[in-house]
Every structure is written in structure tokens, then in C-alpha cells.
Symmetry: C2
């Protein structure tokens, strides 16, 4: 096989065989090409042959790194989850004030503006497409969304621990509601090609969170 992998090389991420640096680069190129295509056309609309051509690799190379399309899809989910989280850093890791939540809201709205509201959420779209047809992908996406929800919850928890939110504010409930509002806002923003749904959804959620604040914030919505 025309591959650039050595079984003796150190592991990159623990996913798949141990790879040389060159092997890792080839695998990453395949995953990035697959992620782009699946973001544009959906998973069902992307064949491994499409990926092969876009990545400039051979069929044997693809099947060396990925046993089948399902394995490639799971690698794309891991890749897109990481990309989504990284695009929101460092804000996402420090959502422990209303100001930080508002800055994060502006960031995610800004990302959609830059994309002209196209594509929706990279992992939300995969969740919609794959939940009924690929149970392994669904399980990976549950984990991916939990990684997104956790820092939101932790920020709210820190605010409550410091007494900045009232004791009846439920960080878990509010974080899940915020992530849901974000997802629905992204879907309707993609559909309507305008950020109004995302802005409305997040503004309402942030207003709701602000209603638990123990001291009124001057920048809080009326």
C-alpha cells in the first residue's frame, strides 16, 4: 500500500494506529478534507471518493487510516468539535460573568456574520443528520456537546458560588437551555441567512440568566 505510516512511531492522539509525523499529517489532511465536504454537502452527500480527491490521497491511504466511512465520520466529529470549541476560546473557558456571556454571544454571532450565515453549526448539523442512522456517531456527538456545555455550566456555577447569581439559579438547567437556544438560533440563522434568530435566542437566554443576578448590571437588557 502507498502509505506513510510506521507502526513503531509514537501515537498522535490515541485514535487509530501509531503514526509518524508524516502519517499524522496525511490523516489530518483526509479528516480536514472530509470535514469541509461534509460541512458543505452533508455526510450522505460526501463519498469517500470525494474525500480522496479533495485530500489528494489514494484509496488505499484512506482505508489505511479509516476502516470505513463510519470511522471517517467519527474522526470528523472529533475534528469539528475541537474546531468549534477552539473558535470560542478563550471566552468559552471564562464565562463567569454577564459581561463574559455577552462577549461570547457577540463572538458566536460574529462567526455567523463572517460565514454569511451559511453552513449552520458544524456539529449541530451532524447531530441532525446522524442521530437516527449512526449510533456510534450519535454517542460521539453527545460527548462533543457535553464538552461545549461544561464550560457554560462551570461559568454559571462560579457566578452562583460567588453569590453573583441567586441560589435558585440552576447552572445545569441554564447551561443546557443556553446551548439549546444557541443550536436553534444557529439552525434558523442558517435557514434564514440572517443572524436575527441567533441574536434573539441568545439575548433572551442572557436576559433570563441576568434575571438571577444579585446585583443589577448596567449593561443588562431592560
Amino acid at each position: 500500500m502507498n502509505i506513510d505510516e510506521s507502526p513503531a512511531a509514537p501515537a498522535g492522539t490515541g485514535a487509530g494506529p501509531r503514526l509518524t509525523r508524516k502519517g499524522r499529517a496525511t490523516r489530518d489532511r483526509i479528516v480536514a478534507a472530509a470535514a469541509n465536504l461534509m460541512f458543505e454537502r452533508g455526510v450522505a452527500g460526501t463519498s469517500t471518493d470525494d474525500v480522496r480527491i479533495a485530500a489528494g490521497v489514494s484509496t488505499s491511504q484512506i482505508y489505511h487510516y479509516f476502516a470505513d466511512k463510519c470511522a471517517l465520520v467519527r474522526a470528523v466529529i472529533a475534528h469539528q468539535t475541537q474546531a468549534v470549541l477552539e473558535a470560542q476560546e478563550p471566552l468559552l473557558g471564562n464565562l463567569d460573568s454577564l459581561e463574559a456571556l455577552r462577549a461570547w454571544r457577540d463572538l458566536v454571532v460574529g462567526i455567523q456574520r463572517e460565514r454569511e450565515c451559511q453552513g449552520g453549526c458544524p456539529i449541530g448539523s451532524m447531530a441532525s443528520e446522524l442521530s437516527e442512522v449512526d449510533n456510534l456517531a450519535r454517542a460521539d456527538l453527545v460527548v462533543g456537546f457535553a464538552r461545549w456545555e461544561t464550560p457554560i455550566r462551570q461559568g454559571l456555577q462560579a457566578m452562583r458560588d460567588r453569590g453573583e447569581l441567586t441560589a435558585d439559579a440552576d447552572p445545569e438547567h441554564l447551561a443546557l437551555a443556553t446551548l439549546s437556544a444557541l443550536q436553534g438560533g444557529l439552525l434558523l440563522t442558517q435557514l434564514r441567512r440572517e443572524t436575527a434568530p441567533l441574536e434573539a435566542a441568545l439575548d433572551a437566554m442572557l436576559g433570563h440568566i441576568a434575571s438571577y443576578a444579585t446585583t443589577p448590571s448596567p449593561a443588562a437588557p431592560a
Copy 2:
């Protein structure tokens, strides 16, 4: 062609050729079969041949009613939009009190429980799958979601007009936020196979709407 249509027959819905009652029934059977398959497998995962077999019709019958798969998809969008709205009637048409909003919340959560949280939103899933690949479908879905948003907005507007919500409550903004929260809640409910995300999203939105109430409601969330 083995078809049961007569050009002289009265029109059914104005969509497509004028149909006899039998022709209308055949067309409806095709659309219902396509809607079921697309709900289960997605649009890309459903071929016109799958639909033909499920509906028990011939290829020529399908192509008599639908010029191509895109035309069938648009008929499915119309069918599913109607089904989604009808499943929420009569509550959806009378969302002009916090009690009505809570009853509607319970209804949509109950629908997900009955479905064991499978399938997500019939038109939300289509929006996610089709927004980037089928602009006619996207336009139809924009209209479909507007039909969903309108009664929510009208209910909130009626509450504000009666002085039950403060003047700074924006029915348009709140309705869009509520529909977004609902969509995201449905997506994460489908992904996680539990209604917690949908409940959290709608409870937060209803709590936010209640914060605009001019008189405190005894049943309002704390």
C-alpha cells in the same frame, strides 16, 4: 401511463395538476410515504425508488405527480409543516397567556416523549439537511417556520396589547427566540434521547417571557 388523474377534475390544493379524488389520494399516499422515509433516513437517504415501493405505486405514477425529487421534497415540506402545526392545535392558535404557553410547552415535550425522543423536528431536520443544497426547499422552509412563528408572536402581541406584558416586551423578538429555543431543544433532545434539553430551553424562554408580565403569575417558575 398507469395513472389515475383527470385533467378536467377540480383542483385539490392548487399544487400540481388538477386531480380527481383518486388522483389526489394517490398523490397524498406518495407524499406521506416520502415524508415517513425522509423523517427516518433523511432526504439524501431516501430515493424515489424507496418512495415508490413504500407507497405501492409505479415509477410513472411518481413522475406524473412530481417532476423530480426536488418537487417531491417540496411537497414533503408542505406536508410536514402542516402536520407539525396541526399537532400543536388548538393550543398554537391561542398562545395569549402564560398558562397557554405552559400548556403548549407540555404538549411539545409530550410529543417527544411519545416518540421516545426520536426523529427530531420533521421540518427542523429538513432545514438542517437542505439549507445549503436546495434553495427552493430552503425558501419553502422559511415560509413554513414563519407559519409556526406567527401564532407565537400573535399570542404575545395580544398579551402586550391587553397590558399583561410590559411595553418593552418585543413580541417579534420573543417569538423568534422561543422558536429558536424550541428547535435547539428538539435537536439536543433527539441527540440525547431525553427531553431534558427541550424542557430546559422552553422553561427558560417561558421564564423570560414571564419576567415581562405585569402581574405575577402563581404558576410562574421561581
